[in-house]
Symmetry: D2
Subunit: 257 residues, 4 copies
């Protein structure tokens, strides 16, 4: 059984800020958002957690092993270095979506995301310890994406295919299994799941093939942290690439990692 | 009639690099990608151009007013500061997708995106001058996204709605009009279009409403650069917000901007 | 008695890289160096350690509480995201300079800083635990720097005064006490010391006044980490500012910090 | 005759901000300062200008070729992305120090650097055009610094030597010639000078050797921009390294640069 700790990172009152006193330059907003995400990725990544950019003003993180003090340090550091602040809600559940739902409620009960008085909320519960199979992560990519798309189509039409595959997969895994799936660039999608069997991944690959005609392959890993599970998934996906299989489970982490 | 200059930014041989000699930590890749995007956003943004993260390993930029020397400077600076290099293909056409198609071909004829010997391509044509209505940009957002989604649902389910709206809109505008539409965070979508009339935007809003049941509004602007057109679009969108309209065209840029 | 853990961060073979195949643009080098420093400051800062930019290609860190695994993670992450790599040598001693000397030797015995085959050295010893008075940090600034210098002189002449004060202080504390002192911007100097009495700081302030005619004040703190000691020092320095004293010791850390 | 345009970049009311409501974490301040410097280095560097970190809260830039609109864009972008704002004063003179003096006065007449109401000043005059020998830049480094210092001494004692050489050189060139000299990392010092003859540089090298017993070499370049002059200086310094000379003037820029 999985135990997933999820943190919602929400920029406080961001929408109004972007247009006050008048609209800010779009490229400055893009820079601010992506650098904030990068900083959080570094902070959490070095603690073996994952964060996904999602909508940038709201980011979803998988934070098993990161305690309340670390969340407080992250929040303080952002407040010291950015013109915006963030609220952080954290919760734990077997299924990722249930953890997110509870994490999200921690902020919603304190007020609206656009309430200028609801800033720097830090709320929730954190796992006291981690165990080796708390997390299951699946790493999908598109079979021969460079040969079939990138080198053939214009980039936007390539992107349409990747985006359709992502949309199809993320909805399927959310509805069927309560998993949270994120596009992470290129042709890569990372899903944080509960304890799903091999058949569930084969079904997901089939579903996307039938739904939008894009062929996926997937490696699946387990671990005590998002990095550990995700790294095992990356190794399993390498096995797919080398062996031409479409689902590989529980790849062993590299020695010393 | 619009005249759109589009640049494709492609990280050279990136896929293999991410797994050589073994998979690199996902949060380091996320950090690298988002900071590279941020740097390009700053470089181009200060020249009144726009860049969109798209798939991060391939980014699409609208670069009217940015000449070949500036493209060369960007490429050199990235090569000096990152462990990866980029290729840049640029082309001009009335419709954004046609410009991208030609820009993309500049790189494809030189070799595969995963050809380790095809690095730092710098190719294409650049507009010699700009005129005040070369570009049309539309800025969409979701009506009352915070009240209807962010404050009510968990973030992933909110994201599913935004993502579906984006997918529906980007495909509609691509197929019908050759426009390129990009999610830019929150509930915002920026479309780079040819010279579309008001009815085309009203149709797009209707289409998304019927297709995925998300209500959009849109401001549209014209200008000599992506920033100028996009900034006018932002102001027009502010008018939608204040007046409750769903389409506003050609908002005047703020004085002095 | 203090117990200081010092880490030398050295960019591998950096000099030759900056001029190969021909000199790289100075502003790209400045950007690379200062962002690398910023990343290390974030990584170590969140672990309550300090790093100083020193010469940028060689940075000195005070890393009590940061273990070998964290040093390895930092080294790997830099290798994943920068065009250069770093070597890290760590050692422990009562006096900061002795710890640095031993840390430095860890790298020197492996080869020259410009030996292209000596890369990513990770060597040394790390404290197994920390105790509340392991570190002593002094935070100096210039009395009324804004009124006397910044608002009166041109910035370079202001800087000459600050630089002279820094040079005088850093040499005095190094020779007399084996302390390591770093300019951290503005008119601020942070010294990492062994267990010096109040008189040693009063002497240092007098020495600089006589030597270069710049009036300093100083707050001194103790703690289990560089942040803890440095934060107490900042609070003590606030007392100097409010009370007009020139030396304040062992300011209590703020509640909850 | 040289024509030097200098810009003073001053963070508004920074000192008080760093301690309000209580002292901020030192590593957050270091990160903020060095990233702000890096952003300005990118912005100005891509316009062939130079900026030096100096005291970080006050930075000195050599901005021939950068007009008032670009200065305004830089100021706005920083205000959009940082928790602090900057004021910019610019002036032109033959000698760098005279340009800085006038640039600095542009801000001083508007109020104190710590006046909370004096924010985002943008003042001064900008050159209407550039000519090929407007700027003279000298690039110094220490002869065999790695062999004599880095690989032999502990890093702090190495730094003491470099710092003493820098202090000696910067004061000599300031007093004798009104030049502005900046440590740029490693063992490198960049001087922005007026039209000095070869003998002035030989004298400077001798002065430092006698004063603090550190042996320097120097390449000198001319150009229409800081980058052009500085790049020629770097090439000239390469000649020193290869030929064992201590002063090389007017190195030719690399073809195509």
């Amino acid at each position: 059984m999985t135990t997933t700790q999820v943190t919602l990172v929400q920029i406080d009152n961001y929408g109004p800020w972007t247009t006050t006193p008048e609209p800010r330059r779009e490229m400055d907003l893009q820079t601010l958002q992506s650098r904030l995400f990068a900083d959080i990725a570094q902070f959490l990544g070095h603690r073996d957690a994952y964060v996904f950019f999602t909508r940038f003003d709201n980011m979803i993180a998988v934070t098993n092993g990161v305690d309340g003090a670390a969340h407080a340090a992250l929040q303080e550091s952002i407040g010291n270095r950015y013109p915006v602040t963030v609220s952080l809600g954290t919760a734990v559940a077997e299924r990722p979506v249930d953890a997110l739902e509870a994490a999200n409620r921690q902020l919603q009960v304190e007020g609206s995301a656009q309430d200028e008085h609801r800033t720097e909320v830090l709320a929730g519960e954190y796992l006291a310890e981690t165990t080796p199979s708390d997390l299951q992560v699946a790493h999908f990519d598109v079979v021969n994406a460079t040969g079939k798309y990138t080198d053939q189509l214009n980039e936007f039409d390539t992107f349409i295919n990747i985006e359709r595959a992502y949309g199809s997969l993320m909805r399927h895994l959310r509805e069927r299994h309560g998993a949270l799936s994120f596009f992470v660039g290129g042709d890569n999608i990372v899903s944080v799941c509960s304890d799903l069997p091999e058949g569930a991944f084969a079904d997901a690959v089939s579903h996307v093939g039938e739904d939008v005609d894009v062929e996926l392959q997937v490696g699946v890993g387990r671990g005590a942290s998002a990095h550990e599970a995700g790294f095992a998934a990356k190794h399993a996906l390498e096995d797919c690439r080398h062996d031409g299989t479409s689902v590989e489970l529980f790849g062993a982490p590299a020695a010393g990692d």
